[in-house]
C-alpha cells in the first residue's frame, strides 16, 4: 500500500440475506483511494455504491475480502475500534443531513469535538471556523427546523469537517437539494478539499455534481465498470 493511500480494498464481496437467499451487493471489488482525492462512486440505484461507502466508513462489515482504511484493517477491528476510527479520522455527510433536531447549528457542529473530548475553548474556535467555512455564521444559533435544505447540508458539512478528518464520506449529499444549492455545496466541498487536503468519497447518481469530481468510479450491479481520473485545472 502506498504511503498516501487512505483506502485499500481487495476482492471485497458483500452479501445480504434476503429471505433464505443471499443477495450479492458487491462482487469482488478492488480499489485504492489516495489522500486528497475527490472521488465519486457513481451508479444507478442498487449498484452498491452506498454499501461500499458504508463498508469504507466502518458502518458495515465486508463478507469477504480485505478492507484497510487509514492503514487499519477493518476486517479485524471490533465495533469500538471502528467507532474510534470514525470519531478521529472520518466525517460523514448524509443525504437527509441527519442533524440532531434539538441542537442548534453550533451544537450540531460541536458534537464530533465533544465526542473527541476537545476542551471548550478549542471547541468554540473550531466550530466557529467550520461554520464560517460553510457560510452559516448568522445561523449558528438556529435549529435545523429553521434552516433550508441547503443550510442543513452546509451544517452537516461543517460537522463532517470540524474535527479535521482525513476522510469524508458523503452519501448522496445533493439528492435533496435543488440545482443552485447542489452547486453551492459542491463548490464548498471542492474548496475545502483543496484547502484542507481532506479526501472525499461520494456515493451519488446526481449528474449535477459529476463535473466537480476528480475521480469517478462507476459501479453497476456490484462491479466496478469504470474508474477514471479527471484532470481539472480550475473548478
Amino acid at each position: 500500500m502506498e504511503n498516501n493511500t487512505v483506502i485499500s480494498i481487495q476482492n471485497l464481496i458483500k452479501r445480504f440475506p434476503v429471505g433464505s437467499e443471499f443477495f450479492t451487493a458487491l462482487k469482488d471489488i478492488t480499489l485504492d483511494l489516495h489522500k486528497g482525492e475527490f472521488t465519486g462512486l457513481v451508479g444507478p440505484s442498487g449498484s452498491g455504491k452506498t454499501t461500499l461507502l458504508n463498508i469504507i466508513g466502518g458502518l458495515d462489515s465486508p463478507t469477504e475480502g480485505k478492507v484497510r482504511v487509514l492503514n487499519q484493517p477493518l476486517n479485524n477491528t471490533n465495533h469500538n475500534e471502528r467507532a474510534r476510527l470514525r470519531r478521529k479520522y472520518m466525517g460523514f455527510i448524509f443525504q437527509s443531513y441527519n442533524l440532531l433536531p434539538v441542537y442548534t447549528v453550533f451544537e450540531n457542529v460541536e458534537l464530533p469535538l465533544i465526542l473527541n473530548k476537545m476542551n471548550k475553548e478549542d471547541r468554540i474556535q473550531k466550530v466557529n471556523q467550520a461554520i464560517e467555512w460553510v457560510g452559516l455564521t448568522n445561523k449558528r444559533n438556529s435549529k435545523p427546523n429553521m434552516l433550508s435544505g441547503g443550510e442543513c447540508q452546509r451544517t452537516a458539512i461543517a460537522r463532517a469537517l470540524v474535527h479535521d478528518p482525513v476522510l469524508v464520506m458523503a452519501d448522496e449529499p445533493t439528492a435533496n437539494l435543488d440545482a443552485e444549492n447542489s452547486h453551492n455545496i459542491m463548490k464548498i466541498l471542492t474548496k475545502l478539499n483543496k484547502e484542507l487536503d481532506t479526501s472525499f468519497v461520494f456515493a451519488t447518481h446526481d449528474e449535477k455534481i459529476m463535473g466537480y469530481l476528480k475521480r469517478i468510479i462507476r459501479l453497476e450491479d456490484g462491479n466496478i465498470v469504470d474508474d477514471k481520473k479527471i484532470k481539472k485545472e480550475n473548478i
Partner: protein, 391 residues
C-alpha cells in the same frame, strides 16, 4: 461528556422531555398520594382509637376482657386507692361495663351499657351531654351508627333492661340525649353510654368500676393490687394486628401502582428512544461507541427521573402539603361498615414512603431507558441511520 450531551438532549427536546418527565412525575405523585392516603387511613384509625378510647392507657379489673361479654357481670370492683386518687385529680376516667338489652321501637337488641363520668375530659367523647339533661331518668348517649340501626333520634325514649349485682333483672326508660358523630365504631355500634353514677345505681354497684382510662402523659402506677395496667401498645394491638394483616394488601397495592407507573414510563421511554433511531445511527456514525449510546440514553432516563422528582416536589408538593393539612373528603361515612375511616382523610407522607418511591421509580426509569437503548444500539448503524427501528 455523556452527561453534557444527555443534558443538552433533554433541554433541547423541550416538549418531549416535558412529557417524559410529566409521565414519571404523575407516577411519583400517584404512588405517593395513594399510599399516603392508605397510610393516613391506618394511622388515623390508630389515632382515633387513642383519642376516643385509650388516651394514655388503662387499668383493668383483673377479670375484665372486652372481647368476652360473659365476664362483664363479675369484672368490677372499687378502685385501688392510687387509681382512685388519679380519678379524683381528673387525670383518669372510670368506666363501668355491663350487658343490657334495649327495646327501641318494639325490637330487642343486646347492647353493652357503659357508665362514664359525664364531666370527664380524658377521652374525646361528648359525655358532657349526659349531664345537661338532669331531669331525664336515664340520659343515653349513642353513636350515629347505633342511631341508624335502632332508628333512634334525640329525645326518643326506649326501655333498657339489665341484670343487677343481685342477679335480678330490672328495666327502666332511657332517653337519647345526644347522638355522637364518632369514627370509632367500637364506641358506637352496640353501645349505649350513660352517666357512671346512674349505671352504678342501676347495677347496685356503688363506687365500683370495670376499668379506668388515664390521661396521656400520666406515669404508670405501681402497686395496683390485683388491677392490671394496660399500656397503649397493648390496647392498640388489635389495630396493629389489623394493620400488620393488611400489609400484604398494602404491598400488593404499592406493587400495582408501581407496575402501572412502570408501564407508563416504559411506554414513554420506548416511544421516545425508538423514535430516535436515526439519531442513534448518527451518533454511531460520528464515532460514539455502542456502550456510550446505551449509557447516554440511560443517563437521559436518570436525569429524567431527577427532573421528575424535582417537578413532583414543586407543583405536586403543594398538593401533598394541602392534602396533608386539609385532608381529602371521603364520599361517604364508612364507620357504619366497621371501618375507622375519617370523613376527611389525612394522608401521611412519610420520609420512608417518599424515599422508597423515589428510589424505585428512579430504578424503573433507569431500567426502561437501558433496555430499549441497549436493543437499539445492537442494531447495525446502517439500519439505525435509516430509522429502521422496531420493538
Amino acid at each position: 461528556m455523556l452527561f453534557k450531551i444527555a443534558l443538552k438532549n433533554l433541554l433541547g427536546a423541550r416538549l418531549r422531555t416535558f412529557l417524559n418527565v410529566f409521565v414519571t412525575c404523575i407516577s411519583f405523585f400517584m404512588i405517593i398520594f395513594i399510599t399516603g392516603l392508605y397510610d393516613g387511613m391506618r394511622q388515623h384509625a390508630k389515632q382515633v382509637t387513642i383519642d376516643t378510647e385509650i388516651a394514655g392507657g388503662a387499668y383493668w379489673h383483673p377479670l375484665y376482657d372486652p372481647s368476652d361479654p360473659m365476664v362483664f357481670e363479675d369484672s368490677h370492683s372499687t378502685l385501688p386507692p392510687k387509681i382512685k386518687d388519679l380519678v379524683n385529680d381528673n387525670k383518669a376516667v372510670p368506666i363501668l361495663v355491663s350487658q343490657a338489652a334495649i327495646y327501641p321501637n318494639g325490637r330487642i337488641m343486646p347492647v353493652i351499657m357503659k357508665g362514664i363520668h359525664p364531666s370527664q375530659n380524658i377521652v374525646s367523647m361528648p359525655t358532657n351531654t349526659l349531664e345537661k339533661n338532669k331531669d331525664i331518668n336515664i340520659p343515653v348517649l349513642i353513636g350515629k351508627g347505633m342511631a341508624n340501626n335502632t332508628k333512634l333520634n334525640i329525645g326518643d325514649s326506649f326501655t333498657i333492661r339489665w341484670l343487677d349485682s343481685d342477679g335480678t333483672y330490672d328495666a327502666d326508660e332511657g332517653t337519647v340525649v345526644h347522638i355522637m358523630d364518632t369514627e370509632n365504631f367500637k364506641l358506637d355500634i352496640g353501645h349505649i353510654w350513660i352517666p357512671l353514677k346512674k349505671a352504678q345505681k342501676m347495677l347496685a354497684l356503688e363506687n365500683e368500676v370495670t376499668y379506668v382510662s388515664y390521661a396521656i402523659g400520666e406515669k404508670k402506677i405501681k402497686n395496683l393490687g390485683s388491677w392490671i395496667h394496660r399500656d397503649v401498645d397493648y390496647l392498640i394491638q388489635d389495630i396493629e394486628a389489623a394493620i400488620e394483616a393488611d400489609k400484604p394488601g398494602n404491598q400488593i397495592m404499592f406493587t400495582i401502582l408501581l407496575s402501572l407507573a412502570a408501564m407508563g414510563i416504559f411506554n414513554a421511554q420506548v416511544l421516545s428512544i425508538f423514535r430516535r433511531g436515526k439519531e442513534i445511527g448518527t451518533l454511531m456514525a460520528l464515532g460514539m461507541t455502542r456502550s456510550k449510546v446505551v449509557g447516554l440514553f440511560t443517563l437521559e432516563g436518570g436525569i429524567n427521573a431527577v427532573l421528575a422528582s424535582a417537578l413532583t416536589l414543586f407543583p405536586f408538593g403543594l398538593i401533598f402539603w394541602w392534602t396533608a393539612e386539609h385532608g381529602v373528603p371521603m364520599p361517604m361515612d364508612y364507620s357504619e361498615m366497621g371501618f375507622m375511616i375519617a370523613k376527611q382523610l389525612m394522608p401521611v407522607y412519610s420520609f420512608s414512603l417518599i424515599a422508597t418511591t423515589t428510589v424505585l421509580v428512579f430504578f424503573i426509569v433507569i431500567i426502561v431507558s437501558y433496555l430499549p437503548s441497549r436493543r437499539i444500539a445492537r442494531m447495525k448503524p446502517t439500519n439505525a441511520l435509516k430509522g429502521k427501528t422496531s420493538i
